[in-house]
């Protein structure tokens, strides 16, 4: 920060003369930027409305470079679909941040990632279309239904099945940190009738007999699993599978995850599978089911 001082602190002359004290308007833009550095991005942007000095300070590269994830170059490449778009090189740090905050689809639109704007953490959603669902091709069991309640506009709907097995994986360069993985599920089939949302529970059965098992594992040997009885028909619920840690922003990690209920003494059905969500641990999640069980970081086999 340069010493861009103006003659602002006290005037020469007697004390009683009322030395003029510094006000915010006196501070050079570099000082204002230094202040804004301690706020989060939405707040920084709001400050731009105060005055022209604040607007300039709020766009300072120094601020946004500190807010961006360390591997923003990689993230921009994914966001831009690998095209050598020259535009990405002329974006300011602030514009880069704003770009990453959008919904950035990749892998043919079956996945999306975005920067959580307050804290600058990466969130990622994997569509049901990118999951391996056993029996997905058999219309007696599964079909895809359109819905506006999914960011991918489609969910996989289960009528009934003995063997529920859903698997998926993702290769991605997460910035350093700890992440939680969830399955976004819904009991019952929702649709609009006369403008109101209605949920049809006709196929819901079997979820109270045995819990569903969730599992994740990473390419660097981390594992987590949990089990849960599916509950709360009519509501989208995030079922927490477990957490994993990323230690190196520049080393992409492979995460495999699954959801199974393969007890063949009973059938189950009436389930919508929307997506798998990965986000930094600690972001408040809506609608955690009360029967949620803490995941255990074990290597035990599961049934």
């Amino acid at each position: 920060m340069g010493a861009g001082a103006s003659s602002m602190l006290g005037t020469e002359g007697d004390e009683g003369g009322g030395a003029r004290r510094t006000v915010m308007a006196d501070l050079p833009e570099s000082c204002v930027a230094e202040v804004l550095l301690h706020l989060d991005p939405p707040e920084i942007c709001r400050m731009a409305r105060l005055s022209r000095t604040f607007r300039g300070a709020a766009s300072a590269d120094a601020i946004w470079a500190a807010k961006l994830p360390r591997n923003y170059g990689y993230l921009m490449a994914v966001a831009l679909g690998g095209d050598d778009c020259p535009a990405k090189w002329v974006l300011t740090k602030k514009e880069t941040y704003a770009w990453l905050c959008r919904r950035n689809p990749f892998d043919g639109g079956t996945k999306e990632f975005w920067l959580e704007k307050k804290r600058g953490g990466i969130c990622l959603s994997i569509s049901s279309k990118a999951l391996s669902i056993t029996g997905i091709d058999d219309r007696r069991y599964w079909n895809y239904i359109p819905t506006e309640e999914s960011r991918f506009h489609t969910v996989a709907y289960l009528h009934q099945i003995w063997w529920l097995e859903v698997r998926g994986e993702i290769d991605f360069g997460f910035p350093e940190g700890t992440y939680s993985l969830f399955f976004r599920l819904h009991l019952g089939r929702a649709y609009k009738r006369l403008g109101r949302r209605v949920c049809s529970p006709e196929h819901i059965h079997g979820w109270d007999i045995k819990p569903v098992w969730f599992h994740l594992s990473t390419s660097d040997g981390q594992q987590a699993q949990s089990k849960c009885y599916l509950e709360e028909p009519g509501m989208w619920v995030y079922y927490h599978v477990g957490d994993f840690a990323v230690r190196d922003s520049f080393a992409p990690i492979n995460v495999k995850f699954s959801m199974t209920q393969i007890d063949c003494t009973h059938t189950k059905g009436g389930l919508c599978i929307d997506s798998v969500l990965i986000q930094p641990r600690g972001i408040k999640q809506q609608k955690i089911p009360p029967a949620y069980l803490q995941c255990q970081q074990t290597n035990g086999s599961y049934y």
């Binding site: 006290g10 308007a25 939405p42 942007c45 604040f54």
Partner: protein, 241 residues
């Protein structure tokens, strides 16, 4: 004949003696040489030792003198209202501005800061003094014996000091101190004051901030609209889930 014998004997004895003498002389000369060599060696060792002692004595006394001089090396900083502060050069180095002035040799007769009042300078000096003992004043220039690593208790002491320094300041004093730390280039103090001001900005509406901090809205209406557009990405609460 006898005398001849005698003479011969004598001369031979003499000869022998003389040769003995010679030998003795030679040997004694050799001995003497040896001794001399030994003496010379000893004396040169002693000399060297002596020189070393002299050198050590000289350097330690020079170091002492330097140390004494360093302890006595202070810089006098005067505020714009005439208040004087004398501090060790090592402490003053926490201000990059003062450090440069000292390095350029233009601080020898003291420094007057035309834009910093006594009240503010006192706060800055107390910050520099306290931080000198714990770290490098946040300047990153590596002086001080901690080089940024602190024990937990040292960390607490630093945090407590920093917190106490700023918590009682009214807004005007806080901003004065912020501007002064920018001017004097005291990195740690600038960061501390900026963080404190940021805390005061959090959670307030634009209007509240304008009032609290007397910030004039210098936007014409079209520009205001432009700014609103520019920042809309950060404000919208899109929640699909």
């Amino acid at each position: 004949m006898a005398s001849q014998d005698c003479e011969a004997a004598a001369s031979s004895r003499a000869a022998a003696a003389s040769s003995q003498d010679c030998e003795a002389a030679a040997s004694s000369r050799a001995e003497k040489e040896e001794q001399k060599t030994v003496r010379v060696a000893a004396s040169s060792r002693a000399k060297k030792k002596e020189q070393k002692t002299v050198r050590v004595a000289a350097s330690s006394s020079r170091a002492e003198k330097e140390e004494q001089k360093e302890e006595r090396r202070t810089v006098r900083v005067t505020s714009n209202d005439g208040e004087e502060f004398e501090m060790d050069e090592a402490v003053a180095r926490g201000s990059v501005m003062l450090r440069h002035m000292m390095e350029l040799g233009i601080a020898l007769d003291g420094v007057t800061l035309p834009i910093v009042s006594g009240e503010i300078l006192a706060l800055a000096v107390s910050y520099l003094r306290f931080h000198r003992d714990y770290d490098d004043g946040g300047s990153g220039y590596g002086y001080g014996y901690s080089y940024g690593y602190h024990s937990e208790s040292e960390d607490t002491a630093l945090t407590n000091f920093d917190r106490d320094l700023v918590k009682q300041l009214d807004q005007a004093t806080l901003l004065d101190l912020l501007a002064a730390s920018n001017y004097m280039e005291i990195e740690g103090l600038l960061r501390l004051t900026c963080q404190t001001v940021a805390e005061k900005l959090k959670g307030k509406t634009t209007e509240e901030i304008r009032q609290t901090f007397c910030i004039q809205n210098d936007y014409p209406p079209e520009e205001e609209e432009e700014v609103r557009e520019e920042i809309s990405w950060a404000l919208e609460e899109k929640s699909l889930d």
